[in-house]
Symmetry: C2
Subunit: 239 residues, 2 copies
DNA sequence: GCAATTATTCGCCCGATGATACCAAAGTCA
DNA sequence: TGACTTTGGTATCATCGGGCGAATAATTGC
């Protein structure tokens, strides 16, 4: 079988079956995007051994861990298998293994979170789909925990990493950006303060284009273009 | 051999040798304390197989991963084997496995960070010692990476978790607390501002005791006693 | 007592944040 | 055409928190 002709689904299945003896851990990816104004995670069909009865129909995309490979490389490959292209953001969330089941036999799973811009489409042959994180189908407890941790991880990183910009197209309106921040942080933000802070941080620049959304004044489009080095943190937080 | 008579070192050695076939991953603990005004990590003597030549003499305390156990339980046991008592703080840092060596044969290590109050002593039979994180002996690259990540993790958590208070005795002066924050954050803090924020957060309370350090006015002793629920975060950070 | 040292607090200033209101540019509808 | 609505973008003001220097307090050593 030529690798050039193999579909992502076939590649993934081949790699999985090539390791009948589990390496001791799996690499699982929580692939997040924005769908219909909600955070959504990619799930694929659970593939059990012939004759095995699965209690769950869906699972996070994953791969058995390889001894001689960097974890991030495996996670990137898993993401590529699902979406056809590499993720715009990839970060490790942590290791999960507290006695809960996994679709594979791995006692330990290393979770990654990957971000895909809103509007990206999953190739049909992937056999997967996006589900809102607030309305997930039945999942193994460990996988549910990994999704929850991935969302919490993104929420904590949103102020220190360009998380939001990886979930948006290359150009966007400031209202879209603010709505995304409100979605991620789960709280309302003040419009004037949001734009003031954004301007002070100098991480977006305006383009020459405007977008008219039907009613109301057209909005100027911006792009992510950080021009400022990180300012030293000020003050102390006790929480 | 009765478990009641076994020293921590013997218990750890027994457990390690009980898994000749590696479980696929290890649980490593970065045990931090404050020693001579510096952050210090606990290291133990590296134990190789007979005849095997070790390039490093020291290693992080660790254990092979067990399939049927929670990761945090293993990390707590490792900490207890080193210090004799459980840690005052324990949190997972992440999984490390990017092709670097480990004293065991595990291709993957799950790192935890544990905090021990300044002044705590390591039992003599542990065979370990504390080393300043800025002046570590030769270590395997993966272990060095885990220590660096653990320190960075603590620095990021210091404003959101009672990290500093787990590195201090139960009572302390405000100057000691500020010096610890300056050590952790690696920057100077203004005394009046520090105390003002501390009072606003309502996480310490004064005791009836004062401590005289020789010269100068005696300092009042405080204890950690959070009385305030977390205030909702304000504003936006773009960094 | 007086200087030195350390602890604790006060007052001033500035920047960030939030509330409210205002202006601008488009569509809708009579 | 002209009011009204809708959405984008800005201005003004009050408030709050934090940075800064200085004043005050309590002890040791001379």
């Amino acid at each position: 079988m030529s690798p050039l002709l193999a579909s992502p689904r076939q590649r993934a299945a081949t790699r999985r079956s090539a390791s009948p003896r589990t390496a001791g851990y799996s690499v699982d990816v929580v692939l997040l995007t924005v769908l219909d104004g909600q955070l959504a995670a990619a799930l694929v069909r659970a593939e059990g051994r012939p004759g095995e009865r699965l209690r769950e129909r869906w699972t996070l995309p994953w791969e058995p861990g390889a001894a001689d490979e960097a974890l991030a490389d495996a996670a990137e490959r898993v993401s590529r298998d699902v979406m056809g292209v590499g993720p715009h953001y990839l970060e490790q969330v942590g290791a999960f293994g507290d006695g809960k089941r996994h679709p594979g036999t791995a006692p330990l799973s290393v979770a990654f979170v990957a971000l895909v811009p809103a509007g990206a489409v999953m190739p049909a042959d992937t056999g997967g789909d996006f589900f809102p994180v607030n309305d997930l189908p039945a999942l193994a407890p460990r996988q549910r925990a990994m999704i929850d941790a991935a969302v919490a991880h993104v929420q904590q990183r949103v102020g220190h990493a360009p998380v939001a910009f990886r979930l948006l197209p290359t150009t966007f309106t400031l209202s879209e950006l603010q709505e995304l921040y409100e979605l991620l942080l789960d709280r309302r933000l003040h419009k004037a303060s949001f734009r003031r802070s954004l301007q002070a941080a100098r991480i977006v620049e305006p383009t020459d284009e405007w977008r008219s959304e039907g009613r109301g004044r057209p909005a100027q489009l911006f792009r992510y273009a950080p021009r400022r080095r990180r300012s030293a943190p000020r003050g102390i937080r006790f929480e």
